[in-house]
Symmetry: C2
Subunit: 325 residues, 2 copies
Amino acid sequence: MIDRLTERIEALGCPVVVGLDPTLEMLPEKLLADAVRSYGETPEAVAFAFLKFNKQVIDATCDVVPAVKPQIAMYERYGLDGLRAYQMTCAYAAGRGLVVIGDVKRGDIGSTAAAYAAHIQPQALFGRAFDIWREDAITVNPYMGGDSVEPYLEVLRGADKGIFVLVKTSNPGGADVQDLRVQAAAGAAGAAADAGAGEAAGGAPLYEHVARLVSGWGADLVGTCGYSKVGAVVGATHPEAGARLRALMPRTFFLVPGYGAQGATAADVARFFDKDGRGCIVNSSRGITAAWKKDGGGEASVGKAARAAAIQMRDEIAGALGWRT
Amino acid sequence: MIDRLTERIEALGCPVVVGLDPTLEMLPEKLLADAVRSYGETPEAVAFAFLKFNKQVIDATCDVVPAVKPQIAMYERYGLDGLRAYQMTCAYAAGRGLVVIGDVKRGDIGSTAAAYAAHIQPQALFGRAFDIWREDAITVNPYMGGDSVEPYLEVLRGADKGIFVLVKTSNPGGADVQDLRVQAAAGAAGAAADAGAGEAAGGAPLYEHVARLVSGWGADLVGTCGYSKVGAVVGATHPEAGARLRALMPRTFFLVPGYGAQGATAADVARFFDKDGRGCIVNSSRGITAAWKKDGGGEASVGKAARAAAIQMRDEIAGALGWRT
């Protein structure tokens, strides 16, 4: 998926991924009321409304953006009905040619991680293969270490799929763990010397050590585009860290949340790209999907406003990168 | 749930939680064949078989053990059918009086964590409350820091629920991140002095810093039993770490995976308990649920073998703790 993702980004001139994280508050009143008329005041009605809403956003943006990132928590909170809307959103987006990044942040010990790998690998069952979750890539939590990630790497060795491992997240509290200063291990002296200034005063932050792990996990999974199937999540709200990680991980593609609603600007995220303006895709969720609320046009303006917001974000980032506009 | 859990452990004299992590290989042939006869060669048949299998284990052990811990990944791999079996397993176990710990290892930024909190909090919807996932407690990943955990704490302040935060996991690869040596922050000088030897030579391991965070998150959520609703996951495969964390976190209840199949013994896990033999529950999954395979009795022996294995594990741990047997 990494070659397809980079090709689509370049063909569209648009390193933007639309986060599909619906909430009840985000839905036009009439859209939810219509769902309730059919399904009653039930989680099923919410799920139907989420799917219909997502389809409008997908239809209106699929020729502008290369990818979508549904956040599974927003669906999981409404149980099986919600998760059915998640699956159908993934399948619908894939059908419109979009790369689908499932924001699931799974992570567990090896045998259990192999079960979570079902998100990016059809499950062998009764001699057939069932493609259950239908994502092209998923996000993964690194806290449990290398053997918890290995089952995903095993999938990536044989299939056109990807993972994005959390390195430096966009929320302020991420610093509680990710910014702790870690001492270079004896065996990592060379790496520490390479890394330069960041290491000097009292060790490097934990996220840089995780960055090296992620870089290593993806080293033999580099696509023809020059980037690995093992990417990293790096929050737009930390532009200094982003610039430094860009230098530390030259083969690692970045999935960057935190644009817009969380405060980061196009100038901030420009630092997450390589010198050729590649290697990065920037997420916006509410900034695109809730744009209709500023329009005031109700359900009819969901798609139109999302499209306009996606185009505006594309142009902001392209401008900051010095691309032709 | 922490008071109910500790009461049940003491009433039964059994600090054992049964991990309900079914796989196709774990099922008696006839049980799966029966399911296929009704549902065809489908994920639905697997889900039906998982649920039936779990019910047999639950029925046979619910007067021996205080709790079960279904691992959601094993169900999620079979999609919505699998997840329905997960929900029904949780509900069935709760109906038999067991404390249900959902091993979901979720973790995300605040607004998204609030959605995952649906696992332990009924969701308000159309003026009613829908209890969707039905767990008493869930496992949580700490990599994203304090603001990613806060939404769960908010639930715990108002409800009889719990969380267990990953601190030191049972898999060898956990060391890649959790054992990195972290320097004490300037403000933590007092804590470092308290902590003693571990801090001296080159900083404490990351998991001890996470332990302090977890301890702090749970400080105002201590039940009448003396333990907090915010517990920790500490792998049985690291008895030295367990003993040290026990001293570092006197109010934190431990959920301990890694017994048996992963190699830890009763003498190992005895070190995770406090001086009164409290503060800890030890998980076994395959050791209990797949015990029927050694029996050779097929489906009829699933419950009987699980019960015998649970009793044996109870007695092993009670013996190591010097309890009356």
